[in-house]
Structure formats: C-alpha cells, structure tokens
Amino acid sequence: MRDRGDCDNVTMRDRLPDLLHDRLAASARADVQAHVNGCAECRAELELLRSVMAGATAPRVDTSRISAQLRPYRRPSVWASAAHSWPLRAAAGIVLLVGAASVIRDRASNQPDTVVAVASSAELSVGGLTDIPESDLRALVDELGKLEAVTSSEPEVVVVPAVGRSSGGGGK
C-alpha cells in the first residue's frame, strides 16, 4: 500500500466499498471506476479495502447443528395477535372511554341539581359576565336561587311518630 493520503472527493471515497461489493448501479459504477482509474489515493484506498476483505476470517460454523435448534414456526395465538394490533387497541380504547362516560353520566343523572348548577356555572364562565345585561344576570341569579330550593328527586324519609303504640301499650 503506497499513497495513503485521502482523496478530496468524499462522495467517491464513500462509494469504494460499494464498488468492491458490486452494490452500485451500472452508471454509478462506471463513474466510480473512472474516478479510481485517475486517482492514486482512491486506488490505494481500494487496495486497502481489498486487503481488509481478504483478511476477514470466518471460522467454520456448524449450520446443521444450528438448524436443528430451530423450532418449527408457531403461529401466535389470536389474543397475542390482538394485543399487537393497533386498530384493535384503538377500538378497545374507544369502548373503554364510551363505557366510562356512560357510567359517569348515569351517576350524574342521580344528582340533577348538581348537574344543572355545574352546567349553569360553565355557561357563565364560557360566555363571560360582561356580555350579559344586568336584568338577565339578575334573572339568572334568581334561577340559581330557586335551584337550591328544588327538592331532591329522591323522596325524603318520612318519620312517623309512634303515637298509637305508646297509647296502645298504656291500655294493657
């Protein structure tokens, strides 16, 4: 190996291993070969690459022994496949979200006052108090006041005084 300087044409130098392994298209191969023919540095580098290839040793490997270790292919189970399927994962996520939303809605429907109050306050915050005329604002506050007075949807427990029992007991 003689002249081991570096050619300035990095593109050509980059392609030398590809030339060695015949991994260039015909036109590119002709270009690189023409460059190498006129470039002492690239010829020396190509010679160096050839000596690397020639010196690369591969110990003999017992391929039949390796092949014997390989188990026949086993198709993954449906569940394993499903676990790796993005569309199915997305569908499962949507089902989960819808389910969670319906549970929350069911629970919320048992507390109508709270929902209405929350919705009203949300509307207020979205619209902004400055956009509402004073008269409407007063009406809205009155409405909110009435909401607090609305009875719960669940009937109250009525406690019946045990008047009859005490009088009956006294008769014995």
Partner: protein
Amino acid sequence: MTDPGRTGGDPRDSELIAAWKAGNQRAATELVERHASALARFAVSSGVRDDVDELVQDTFVRAFASLDGFRGESGFRTWLFSIERRLLLDRRRAERRRPAAVELTDDAAATEYSALDRVVAGETRSQVWDAIGRLTPTQREVFVLRVTEGLSYKEIADAVGTTEGAARVHYHNAMRTVKEWLDA
C-alpha cells in the same frame, strides 16, 4: 447490484421466511446456511475469540423465535447483525462483571485485540487487521460492516443502532486511524 439476501436465482430471504412460516423447515436451514458465515465473520471482527459458534447459534435461535417482530424495514441480514450485536453486548457486560474479565472499553480495544493475537497462536495477522484492532468497538463494527459485509450506512445505522450520519463519521474516522497506523 448484489443482494446479500439472494444469490443467483435463489429465493429471497422474505420468500424463505414465508416458506418457513408455512411449515417448510428446510427454508430455515437455507437461511442459516446463507447468513451464518457473515455472522461468524462479524463476531470475529468485533473481537470475539471464544464460542463464535454459540453466538451465531444464539443469534439464529433468537431471530427465529421473534421472526413475527421482523417487519422487513431493513434486510434480514442487517436484522441478524443487530441481534448478534445485542447478544455480544450482553456477553461483554457479563464478562465485565467477572473479576478476571478484561473490560472492553474504547481505551481497552487494542489490549483486547492483542490478547486475541496471543490466543490464536501461530496465526499471522495482517498489518491491516492489526490496525483494525486499534479501533474503538463502535468504529470497528461500522468499519467491518461497511468493508467486509458491504452494508450501506443506512443498514449499518439499523444494525448498530445509530444514525446514518454517525455511521459515516465512524467509518471515515476508522479509515483515517487505520491509515495512520499503517503509515506509522
């Protein structure tokens, strides 16, 4: 252009993989025969001195066990190199934990290669491979994959777990080091 996954009129790697999945065990044997030498060469070039056979076997066993995870974005051989490299790193980590093990760091690369020379008694190593022994592990991997296996920078990046640009830089740094060593 030469496709490492195909020689002459032989079937492509992807075709052999499909045949193996369809129950043709012979297809697996053909894939092993096609790529075993390259894996052994890469192992030796990376400084492995013991149990190259075992490393190559483990690579194939692991590859075939997880072949459903191979999406074909890189070549089959490139994918095998990446598996072998991970096994190699695991092995080095295990050796590092052993008290008498030689720690394989970038600084220790030359020492480790000298040890290899002592083990392989009587074998005459070329000046060039002595120079390659001076490279850092990453430089050596990139250089070997580029020169002896003819992988593109993109393929090397996939195998080594780096970027195409970094692979190019490693290659040129390695080439400069080799030339300097030969000229010294």
